[in-house]
Amino acid sequence: MNLQRINLKIFLEEWQVSPEDIFKIFNRWISETSDEVLVDVADYSHVHAGPITLLVGHDANYCIDNTGGELGLLYARKQPLEGNLSARLRSIFARALNACRRLELEPDLAGQIKFSGSEFLLVANDRLSTAATEDLDKILAADIDTLMQDLFKGAAFTATKNTATRPTLHIKTEAKFDLATLLENLAVN
């Protein structure tokens, strides 16, 4: 399947940061980032349980997001990636994890922000590509399984499917990982 629009949410474990602080950091990233085009920052802190601070990019958006009352960084891929679905998923995980790691390492946020390395929400954000349910099953059965084996180094995980509005997979492992380890695991495999 040619699923390209894929969102990945990495949940926050600790968060003591104001939207204004994130706005400033995202604003700085626009000028500091050289490997992708970042365009603008939008403040949506006035809406309930949704995007809070959005960094708009050409290839993807990065958003501190509170949809469902669950805080995290949402990476929303917009432009096509090369390779098969497995490669694309791997790339999306790497990009999202890198963004989270970058936030954790921001000096101004030291000790105020920590992402979970054990829980993710994957969203197939393309209702045309996912119109057939067996496609999602395909993702479940093959690509995600392989990717998670690499990412979690064989630790057991669950992947709960939900197709209420968009096909989503809630991936969770009981094992504990930090972001650096996950990125290392991705790079090695």
């Binding site: 399947m1 629009r5 204004e20 706005f23 400033k24 604003n27 700085r28 626009i30 000028s31 085009v37 970042l38 365009v39 603008d40 939008a42 403040d43 949506y44 802190s45 006035h46 809406v47 309930h48 349980a49 949704g50 995007p51 959005l54 708009v56 050409h58 958006n61 958003c63 949809t67 469902g68 917009k78 954000n125 393309d126 209702r127 045309l128 590509s129 119109a131 057939a132 349910t133 067996e134 496609d135 509005t165 968009r166």
Partner: protein, 752 residues
């Protein structure tokens, strides 16, 4: 299950043929432009006519608080229009005629926000929906998915008939003359793509209202406004409209003129067609700033304009569509999902009573209410919109309206369902009370996404909303129903002219920094279909506006006479008193003392450091021209006093002098000994600032300079209120432009 390759194939016959064909054409034009086989300006108008707008920073430049960054959009692709990078995300405006929505459409809008935008749907002040950060290559599929649920983006922008708006209560209103919904819908359908409405110099906005005394459709500020009316003719009650033309906000607002006291409904569409023809034929085309129909009517006078339209009407070949819809009016009658029952005896959830007081309107139909979902800044998430659609399916039928106050109204709710509905809205975070009150601040996109925005209208609106909501329950009843409306610039998309307290974004240079400010506009009237327009009072730093709101409302509460309205109170105490009252808020502390003044609400970037000139000494140097322009502001203010006093000639002449002196102040920066002679001042200003384009605005171009030239050249035979009011507005804008011009020159000088 087989999988479709694309949305066109997937949706198939669900896309109406005519809309599908138009979207195919647009998709082909995108491809042609990509291959550089379609001219840039032509493509720009093509996409605008389909609601595909540019957005801030699409020229590839963004100020990050310290310097202007170049956004590295691919340079090998063509542009989408002048200075508009192909890869830059833009805004998609979606027309929702009379704001009418059904749950299926809401679902699709939510899906589109998920997939092509940023998971936010924005309701505009003209009942449209806007999605932001949309890539142009996604727009054809976006349009197909809308078309499949009966929505088009055709003529959402561009020089065309824009969304036809109507009172969101029409059909259920207790005071309306009759339901204008089917007429608004027929008008929208009739003029969409009509050959006589394709050659305008500017946009054309139409509004319908069921009654005259309420705000309803805001007909007074529209190019064409129709207010429901009935008349007894030969013993039979006939429906018609009190028809107005030539209203509009924009930089210089014009109140609409009465075209016909009673236009029979049969004549509505042919008259609209005739108006469109006259506007297309005689309206200004070359000078965009003077191309709205209000300028044509001001030039011709309403009598001559009416005569031309009536003559045109007689020439129109008969069109069965003029009246065909009148035989199907019953088809528009709405139905309720449930029997209407009163609230009596129901257990009420916490918070319900406050919400009920402000967000619930009792329909004329017993047992039914309109429940208004108050949206902060007109925004809701795709998750909320989808969940709201599901709620609608349980409580109402297809009876949902987007409102001009950027809310969503659910009509035909059985009153007995309200406690359950409210509880569900609480779960969705859509239960905010205060709809249609002082808390319900509306704003255009401003600097968040609009290319023309000067200050952050949404940032200020959010701040005011938060502060006002915190103490809304303690508010005196007299101020609860006041309206606050905010625009990011003088163009008035936030409708600041018709608010009790209006604000529009400007900037001021202070010690080398550019500081976000708002002009305070008082005297506007929301009721009676936007019955009167306010005028600017004072330029206030953005960060002091909340204090100004408190000051003005406190003054009104303490000083008002019994039954005296907000407008009447400030009219009575006079502009001089108000100006004095606001004086303390105009001061900007030094950057070192309080840097917060140097960034805008909701946007922590420093507004100014990149614009700083080279400091020459520790003391603050105020250039002479700032004193002179401040004197011009005082002169423009005096003009407003004359206007209030009914001295129209004095108001007009004082406004003219304010502009002339501002022009002279600029000329003096290059030619110190410029004489007092107005002709010489104009000549020098033209040579030094107009011909060189130094005075030209980035987007408005030569618009403000032409205010002065026209006033200088015009020999006025009769000084009317409208004329004096317009020139007072123009004087304010000219002086603002003079400030910007000088600041721009200073910046260029500093960086060279």
């Amino acid at each position: 299950m087989s999988q479709a390759l694309n949305w066109k194939e997937h949706l198939g016959s669900r896309i109406p043929e005519d809309l599908g064909r138009d979207i195919d054409i647009f998709e082909a034009q995108i491809q042609l432009r990509k291959e550089d086989k379609l001219e840039e300006k032509l493509f720009a108008e093509t996409r605008l006519r389909r609601g595909v707008y540019g957005q801030r920073y699409d020229n590839g430049q963004r100020f990050d608080g310290t310097q202007t960054q170049i956004l590295d959009f691919a340079s090998d692709t063509p542009t989408k229009g002048p200075d508009t990078a192909w890869d830059a995300p833009g805004m998609q405006r979606i027309k929702i005629p009379f704001g009418g929505l059904n749950p299926d459409q809401m679902d699709v809008l939510a899906d589109l926000a998920d997939e092509y935008s940023d998971e936010i749907c924005h309701i505009t002040t003209r009942q449209d929906v806007q999605l932001h950060f949309v890539h142009i290559h996604d727009t054809p599929d976006l349009m197909r998915r809308l078309a499949a649920v009966g929505i088009t983006t055709q003529e959402a922008c561009g020089n065309s008939v824009r969304n036809v708006t109507a009172c969101p209560l029409s059909g259920v209103c207790r005071t309306e003359t009759f339901d204008v919904t089917p007429y608004a819908q027929a008008c929208s359908k009739f003029l969409l793509g009509h050959p006589d409405a394709q050659d305008f110099g500017r946009k054309f906005k139409i509004a319908f209202s069921g009654c005259k005394q309420e705000a309803c459709g805001l007909t007074n500020m529209h190019d064409m406004g129709a207010i429901a009316a009935v008349r007894q003719i030969d013993g039979i009650e006939k429906r018609g409209f009190e028809l107005y033309v030539g209203g509009g906000l924009g930089a210089v607002p014009h109140e609409a003129k009465l075209f016909d006291e009673f236009l029979p409904v049969e004549e509505l569409l042919p008259t609209a067609q005739a108006i469109a023809r006259v506007f297309a034929r005689l309206g200004e085309k070359a000078n965009r700033a003077r191309a709205r129909i209000k300028f044509l009517i001001a030039k011709l006078g309403i009598e001559e304009f009416r005569q031309l339209v009536l003559e045109e009407r007689t020439k129109l070949p008969h069109d069965p569509a003029w009246t065909a819809y009148l035989n199907e009016l019953d088809a528009h009658d709405e139905e309720a999902l449930k029997p209407g029952q009163a609230l009596n005896g129901r257990v009420l959830p916490d918070g319900f009573e406050d919400w009920y007081k402000t967000n619930v309107y009792h329909q004329i139909q017993p047992g039914y209410v309109v429940a208004t979902i108050a949206l902060p800044l007109g925004d809701l998430t795709s998750t909320q919109l989808r969940a709201l659609a599901a709620l609608c399916r349980r409580y109402v039928k297809d009876t949902i309206r987007a409102t001009v106050e950027q809310n969503i109204a659910l009509r035909w709710v059985s009153e007995s369902d309200l406690p359950e509905l409210y509880t569900e809205l609480v779960h969705l975070g859509l239960h905010q009370s205060g709809a249609g009150t002082i808390v319900d601040v509306t704003a255009c996109p401003g600097t968040d996404t609009c290319k023309l925005g000067i200050a952050s209208s949404r940032g200020l609106a959010a701040e005011l909303r938060t502060r006002l909501a915190e103490k809304s329950m303690q508010f005196d009843q007299s101020i609860k129903d006041l309206r606050i409306k905010i625009s990011g610039c003088f163009n008035s998309c936030g409708q600041h002219h018709v608010a009790d307290m209006g604000f529009y974004g400007i900037s001021r240079k202070v010690s080398g920094f550019t500081v976000p400010h708002f002009q305070v506009v008082l005297g506007g009237q929301w009721s009676e279909n936007a019955g009167s327009f306010g005028l600017p009072m004072a330029a206030i730093p953005s960060k002091r506006i909340p204090d100004v709101v408190t000051c003005l409302t406190d003054s009104y509460i303490q000083g008002r006479a019994k039954e005296e309205s907000f407008q009447e109170y400030f009219q009575r105490i006079g502009k001089r008193e108000v100006k004095t009252m606001l004086e303390e808020f105009t001061r900007v502390p030094a950057y070192d003392a309080d840097a917060s003044f140097y960034s805008d609400w909701g946007d922590p970037r420093e507004f100014t450091t990149g614009d700083m000139g080279k400091g020459e000494c520790a003391g603050e140097v105020v250039p002479l021209i700032h004193f002179e322009l401040a004197a011009c502001e005082r002169e423009a203010f005096e003009a407003q006093i004359h206007l209030d006093e009914g001295s129209y000639e004095a108001a007009y002449k004082t406004s003219y002098n304010a502009m002339l002196h501002a022009a002279k102040a600029l000329v003096k920066t290059q030619f110190l000994d410029i004489p007092e002679d107005p002709d010489l001042i104009i000549q020098e200003f033209r040579t030094r600032f107009f011909d060189t384009e130094l005075f030209w605005d980035t987007y408005a171009k030569d618009k403000f300079a032409r205010y002065l030239f026209r006033a200088h050249e015009t020999e006025v035979s009769e000084y009317t209120r409208d004329l004096a009011h317009s020139l007072a507005e123009e004087a304010g804008l000219f002086i603002e432009a003079a400030y910007r011009c000088f600041d721009g020159m200073s910046t260029s000088a500093a960086s060279s």
